[in-house]
C-alpha cells in the first residue's frame, strides 16, 4: 500500500498569498525593531522608527537596484516555495560579497569595517523583500507546479 503526498498545490492560492502577506508584515516589524535597537532610537517613537527602517531599505534598494531586480526576477522563476526560501540566505551572502566588492564605491561602509555579520544584518531584510515579492508574483500569476509524488511504503 502506498501513500501519496504533495509538496506543492496543497494550499489554495489565496492561502499562499495571505502567508506571503504575513511574512511581509513580520519582515517589516523586524526591520522596525532592528532600526530602533541598532539605531538607539529612544524615547521610542513608532513613526520615526518606521521612517528610519523604511528609509534604510529605500537607500539600499536605490543603490543596488539592479541586484534587487535580479533577486525578484530570480524568485519568480524558482518553481517551489522551499527553493525560494533556501535562496534567501544565498542571496544575503551574495549581497554581502557585492557589498565587499562595490559597496565603498557606492558610498557604503567598507566590509572590513562593517564586518560580515554586520553586512548580513544589513542585507537580511532588504534581500528578503524582493524575493518575497517575486514569490508572491509567482503564486499569484503562475500555475502551481505539478505535484511531486512521493511514495512511502
Amino acid at each position: 500500500m502506498s501513500r501519496t503526498t504533495t509538496t506543492s498545490g496543497k494550499q489554495s492560492r489565496g492561502t499562499r498569498l495571505v502567508l506571503h502577506l504575513l511574512v511581509l508584515v513580520v519582515l517589516l516589524v523586524a526591520a522596525i525593531v532592528q532600526a530602533t535597537f541598532a539605531g538607539g532610537l529612544w524615547p521610542f517613537d513608532l513613526r520615526f522608527s518606521v521612517l528610519i527602517a523604511l528609509g534604510g531599505i529605500a537607500v539600499l534598494a536605490i543603490a543596488w537596484w539592479p541586484a534587487v531586480l535580479a533577486l525578484g526576477l530570480f524568485a519568480v522563476f524558482l518553481p517551489r516555495a522551499r527553493l525560494r526560501l533556501v535562496f534567501w540566505p544565498v542571496a544575503v551572502l551574495a549581497m554581502t560579497a557585492l557589498h565587499g566588492a562595490f559597496g565603498p564605491g557606492l558610498g557604503f561602509v567598507p566590509l572590513d569595517t562593517l564586518g560580515v555579520w554586520g553586512a548580513v544584518a544589513l542585507y537580511a531584510i532588504p534581500t528578503a523583500l524582493p524575493i518575497l515579492g517575486g514569490s508572491a508574483l509567482r503564486e499569484a500569476f503562475f500555475r502551481p507546479t505539478a505535484p511531486v509524488e512521493r511514495s512511502s511504503p
Binding site: 532600526a35 541598532a38 539605531g39 538607539g40 532610537l41 529612544w42 524615547p43 521610542f44 517613537d45 513613526r47 520615526f48 522608527s49 521612517l51 528610519i52 527602517a53 528609509g55 534604510g56 537607500v59 539600499l60 536605490i62 543603490a63 557589498h99 559597496g103 557606492l106 558610498g107 557604503f108 561602509v109 569595517t113 562593517l114 553586512a119 544589513l122
Partner: protein
C-alpha cells in the same frame, strides 16, 4: 456716661481681621501682576527644546497663568507673526533680529540659546576640513540665509570660490539636503541640527557612515581667531511685550537657564517634552541635543561673539543688517 469696658473676644477678632490687609500690604505691593498667557515661539530645532522643556516643567508658573511653546516653520512665518503681533517672544536667528532692529522694528535680544549647530556632514573619509571640499559636490539648504553666508565666508577665507571650486546644489530644506547626501547625489551637505543627526541615524541604518566631518563652529573660531562659537539664535522680545511685562524678564531668564542645564543633563526627557510642541520625533531631538551647543547666555554677555559673527558674515557694507551693527538698545 457708659463705663469703660475691656474689649471682648469678638472685638479682638474683628480688629485682627481689619488689620490683616495692612499687615499683608508689603507682600501685596511686592507681587507683580501675573501674565495671562506667556507664549513662546521658536524654530523646530535644538534651542526650542529648552523652551518647550521649561514650559512643560512649569518653570514660568510663578509669573504667568499659562505658558505655551509653539514652532514656526519658516522665517516668513516668523516675520509675519512678529509684525502682526501674534509672536512676542521667539527664538530668532540673531542676524534676523539684528536686521529687524536696525530697520526700526521694536525688537530686542534677551539672550543667546545656542552657540552654533551647523555641520558639514559626509560619508567620505577624505573630507575633514574646508579645503577638502574643493572639487566636491555639496548640498546647501536655505540659499542666501545664515548657513550659506557663514559657509561662503569660510570658503573665501580658505581661498575657495563657491562658484568655481565646487558644485553646490541648493536644497529647499535641510531634510532635502540630507536626502541628497543619503542618495549619494552629493558628497557632502552643509546642514543644521537636527537634520544632521537625522542623516547620521538614517545613514547608520543604510550602511553608510555619515558623520559630522566639519564642525562649522570650530572652523569659524579658527578663522576669526576667537572662541569657536556661532551665537546663531536667541530669545528676541518685542517692544510692546517689554513695555507691558518687562519686569518679568529676570525670572524668565532664570527659568531658561535652569531648563538649559536640565536639557543637557537629560536629553531624552527634554525631547519627550518638546516632541509635541515642535512636531519632531523625540528620538531625533534627543540624539541631536548634544550637538546643538545649547547655552543660556544673556545677550549682553554674548555681545562680543555676536558682533564678531555679524561683522564677518555681513561683509564690508553690512547690507544684511542694514549697514551697521546694532547699538546698545538691541541687547537686553
Amino acid at each position: 456716661m457708659t463705663p469703660h469696658q475691656p474689649p471682648n473676644r469678638r472685638a479682638l477678632l474683628l480688629g485682627a481681621l481689619a488689620c490683616a490687609p495692612v499687615l499683608a500690604a508689603p507682600g501685596l505691593l511686592r507681587a507683580q501682576p501675573r501674565i495671562g498667557a506667556l507664549a513662546f515661539s521658536g524654530p523646530p530645532a535644538g534651542p526650542s527644546v529648552t523652551l518647550a522643556h521649561a514650559v512643560a516643567t512649569d518653570r514660568f508658573a510663578d509669573i504667568a497663568e499659562a505658558a505655551s511653546m509653539s514652532a514656526w516653520r519658516t522665517p516668513d512665518e516668523l516675520r509675519a507673526g512678529l509684525t502682526s503681533g501674534n509672536i512676542s517672544l521667539s527664538i530668532v536667528p540673531v542676524q534676523a533680529a539684528a536686521n529687524l532692529y536696525n530697520r526700526g522694528f521694536p525688537i530686542r535680544l534677551a539672550n543667546v540659546m545656542t552657540d552654533g549647530l551647523l555641520y558639514v556632514a559626509t560619508g567620505d573619509d577624505t573630507i575633514n576640513t574646508i579645503p577638502d571640499l574643493k572639487g566636491r559636490t555639496i548640498a546647501v539648504p536655505f540659499r542666501g540665509d545664515t548657513p550659506e553666508i557663514l559657509f561662503g565666508q569660510l570658503l573665501t577665507h580658505h581661498g575657495l570660490d563657491a562658484a568655481t571650486d565646487m558644485q553646490i546644489t541648493y536644497a529647499g530644506s535641510p531634510i532635502e539636503a540630507m536626502q541628497l547626501l543619503l542618495a549619494g547625489r552629493v558628497e557632502a551637505a552643509l546642514n543644521a541640527e537636527p537634520a544632521t543627526t537625522a542623516a547620521v541615524i538614517q545613514g547608520r541604518q543604510a550602511g553608510r557612515n555619515i558623520r559630522r566631518a566639519i564642525d562649522m563652529q570650530a572652523a569659524w573660531g579658527e578663522m576669526t581667531g576667537a572662541a569657536g562659537v556661532l551665537p546663531q539664535a536667541g530669545l528676541a522680545i518685542t517692544g510692546d511685550w517689554l513695555d507691558q511685562h518687562g519686569d518679568a524678564l529676570p525670572l524668565i531668564m532664570a527659568g531658561i537657564e535652569t531648563a538649559t542645564a536640565e536639557v543637557l543633563a537629560d536629553p531624552a526627557t527634554a525631547a519627550s517634552h518638546a516632541t509635541g510642541a515642535l512636531s519632531m520625533p523625540a528620538p531625533l531631538l534627543a540624539a541631536s541635543i548634544p550637538h546643538c551647543n545649547l547655552v543660556a547666555r544673556t545677550a549682553t554677555q554674548a555681545r562680543a561673539d555676536i558682533e564678531r559673527m555679524l561683522t564677518a558674515m555681513t561683509g564690508a557694507d553690512m547690507a544684511a543688517i542694514n549697514g551697521r551693527l546694532p547699538d546698545d538698545g538691541f541687547y537686553l
